[in-house]
């Protein structure tokens, strides 16, 4: 009870002025304008080509550049460093609208904002920020985040990529797996251990330019969805880096990774919301137009119930995502809420895209309609940046902490 009370007061305080929880539904004017701008961009520039990008596994270079020009590739970055200087709520709104247009473009934006720029903004020196963030705000260059390995995904503390000091340089060796943006990136944040005996406390974060001697890429994975973004192994073989390429203190890598993923979860949750929303719109539109038994199928209760369930799933996940964003923007703890957002939004995405195909019937199964692409794109949201199982662990752990008597 006490925890609920403080949570509500905390949220009330972080919404400026007299706005309370009930007014969460009404966004501030700037955010409404931002949302509309990103929606217009998605409608005009992404939706018409999303099917083609997916079929051809083609990286949306021009669209990423356009988004860069708008400031969407570095939303939280202060203006002095070349970013848009906005908050995480703005990022979440932008991510949802972009992903509603094209989920692949969404993941490129998300990885650049949360996973690459995020940790550097939080842990980098002023020089590192200028060197590694500013060129990545315009859309011309994107970054990637190398944590997972063939031997460990959820078990991030078991990293086996090593970093040893040799002749005034760091030498990295190991393989990173499932790296989004790998084939299109110009830099990476790489996690490697300097001392395996220290387990997760031996991991540090490093900044690696791409291309670089000693760094090579595996073949592009042939994925089920988000096919316009590249995913591949990043292989480090005696990859030499100057000592000032370490990000944050030595041994802080695991903590940096976990903090980064906390925020990244809001990005993925927003991407999932976009996919879910797109599925809902597709199904609702079809329900008006398709007739069966002498009337539009939207008249049938079975269809109405599906649309209702889809709509509740999206809206509740959206409010959780906004809450997590607002808490983060207010500098309050948001780990539990971010995990809740990612869990509910990704499950909403898979649920809505599944039901959308059901509403569309046979038409949902063919590529003439986007429903099948949403189904394929949605699936990864329950896996990356923390599987649904990991999210449940995080939430469960937080709940137990809150209710400790």
């Amino acid at each position: 009870m006490a925890a609920l009370f403080t949570a509500r007061r905390g949220l009330g305080a972080c919404l400026s002025g007299r706005r309370r929880l009930s007014q969460l539904a009404e966004l501030p004017e700037t955010h409404q304008l931002l949302r509309q701008t990103c929606r217009d961009f998605a409608d005009r520039e992404l939706i018409p080509i999303a099917g083609k990008l997916d079929k051809e596994h083609a990286y949306p270079a021009k669209q990423i550049q356009d988004l860069g020009a708008m400031g969407v590739m570095a939303i939280e970055v202060p203006e002095e460093l070349g970013g848009a200087g906005m908050d995480y709520l703005a990022y979440s709104l932008a991510m949802e609208e972009i992903s509603r247009g094209c989920a692949s473009t969404g993941v490129v934006v998300s990885v650049n904002n949360s996973l690459y720029i995020g940790p550097i903004l939080k842990n980098g020196t002023e020089e590192q920020k200028k060197k590694w963030i500013t060129p990545f705000t315009t859309g011309e260059k994107v970054g990637c985040f190398c944590l997972s390995e063939p031997g460990n995904g959820s078990d991030a503390g078991a990293a086996s990529t090593t970093a040893r000091e040799d002749g005034g340089e760091w030498v990295l060796s190991g393989t990173k797996a499932w790296i989004t943006n790998s084939w299109d990136a110009s830099a990476a944040v790489v996690f490697a251990t300097t001392d395996r005996t220290l387990k997760h406390k031996g991991i540090s974060a490093f900044l690696v330019p791409m291309p670089h001697p000693g760094l090579s890429l595996g073949k592009k994975e042939d994925k089920l969805g988000i096919r316009a973004s590249s995913t591949a192994n990043v292989i480090l073989e005696d990859c030499r880096l100057p000592l000032d390429h370490m990000l944050g203190p030595r041994g802080a890598g695991f903590k940096i990774a976990m903090q980064t993923l906390d925020s990244g979860r809001i990005g993925v949750a927003s991407q999932a919301l976009g996919i879910a929303q797109a599925s809902l719109e597709c199904a609702a539109d079809y329900a008006h137009k398709r007739t069966a038994f002498g009337a539009p199928i939207g008249k049938l209760q079975a269809i109405q119930f599906k649309l209702a369930d889809m709509s509740v799933a999206v809206e509740s996940a959206r409010l959780l995502t906004w809450k997590a964003s607002l808490l983060r923007d207010a500098g309050k703890p948001f780990t539990k809420e971010a995990a809740m957002a990612k869990l509910s939004a990704s499950e909403a995405a898979t649920f809505c895209s599944h039901q959308a195909i059901q509403v569309l019937g046979g038409m949902g199964y063919v590529s003439d309609m986007p429903a099948e692409r949403h189904y394929r794109d949605a699936r990864i949201t329950e896996i990356y940046e923390g599987t649904s199982e990991i999210q449940r662990l995080v939430i469960g752990g937080q709940v137990l902490k809150e209710y400790q008597s």
């Binding site: 004017e29 700037t30 304008l33 931002l34 509309q36 701008t37 217009d40 961009f41 409608d43 356009d66 020009a69 708008m70 400031g71 969407v72 939303i75 203006e79 848009a84 200087g85 906005m86 703005a90 932008a94």
Partner: protein, 254 residues
């Protein structure tokens, strides 16, 4: 020259929305329907902002006439790069019947008040499709007009305008101050950048009433009825040219 450009921006039902006629045939349904800036007004704003970026003019002022929601449209113009806005408050019956004559009177009055060098408007609004406001404004001010502009070059005290006309393209040169109306191919409007959206918050929107400008908004028109366009009927296929001529004569079209 003042270096000030007035741009009119109209809030209309979004182009992608399916329009529905009210059950009493008095108009179209606007409640709860998505609205946005008239596409031709977007092009007008873009042209003005580009002129400012090229340092040909100094200030872009976005003007919109209507109820409180018109301010949203002005904000969009500010986010695209306009410097400040003027919201001319028109509500109720006056707003329902607001048309080119009233708006052109407003634009003319504001142009004098603001000492405008140029007025740039969209060639027409996608709801009324009147294509009159620019022309009427120029006439009221006794200013030259460059309408259906697909290319505009401001050169000192004159403007070169390439106009899209039925026969092709016509190039004219007119003196400023002048009224221009934007056609589709004039430019491609930019998306507002996030930093500009943030800056737009701080830009000023002044609010005035038509009465403050000494203007009468009474309409000379009365809408009798609004109907959906008739459903397109199926056509008839014919085999030969002779059949076609016979059919055309039969239906009295030849």
């Amino acid at each position: 020259m003042s270096g000030r450009v007035l741009v009119g921006v109209k809030r209309v039902i979004d182009y992608a929305v399916k329009i529905r006629v009210k059950p009493d045939n008095s108009g179209v349904v606007t409640d709860g329907v998505k609205h946005s800036m008239n596409p031709f007004c977007e092009i007008a704003v873009e042209e003005a902002v580009k002129m400012k970026e090229k340092k040909l003019i100094k200030e872009v002022v976005a003007v919109s006439c209507g109820p409180q929601q018109a301010q949203e449209t002005i904000r969009t113009a500010l986010a695209m790069g306009a410097d400040r806005g003027i919201h001319v408050e028109v509500t109720g019956k006056d707003y329902d019947m607001l048309g080119p004559l009233q708006v052109s009177k407003i634009m003319a009055a504001l142009a004098k008040k603001e000492d405008a060098q140029l007025i740039i408007l969209g060639k027409q609004a996608i709801d009324g499709d009147c294509n009159q406001t620019g022309q009427m404004t120029a006439a009221l001010l006794d200013w030259p007009q460059g309408t259906f502009a697909s290319e505009v070059s401001l050169e000192g005290d004159t403007v070169k305008v390439v106009r899209e006309i039925d026969g092709g393209l016509e190039t004219i040169k007119i003196n400023t101050p002048a009224v221009l109306t934007a056609d589709l191919r004039l430019n491609t409007p930019r998306y507002a950048t996030l930093p500009n959206i943030m800056k737009a918050k701080k830009k000023k929107i002044a609010k005035v009433k038509p009465a403050d400008l000494g203007l009468d908004m009474t309409s000379r028109l009365e809408v009798l009825r609004v109907d959906e366009p008739p459903q397109r009927l199926a056509g008839v296929k014919v085999e030969t040219v002779d059949d076609l001529v016979a059919k055309l004569k039969e239906t009295g079209r030849l």
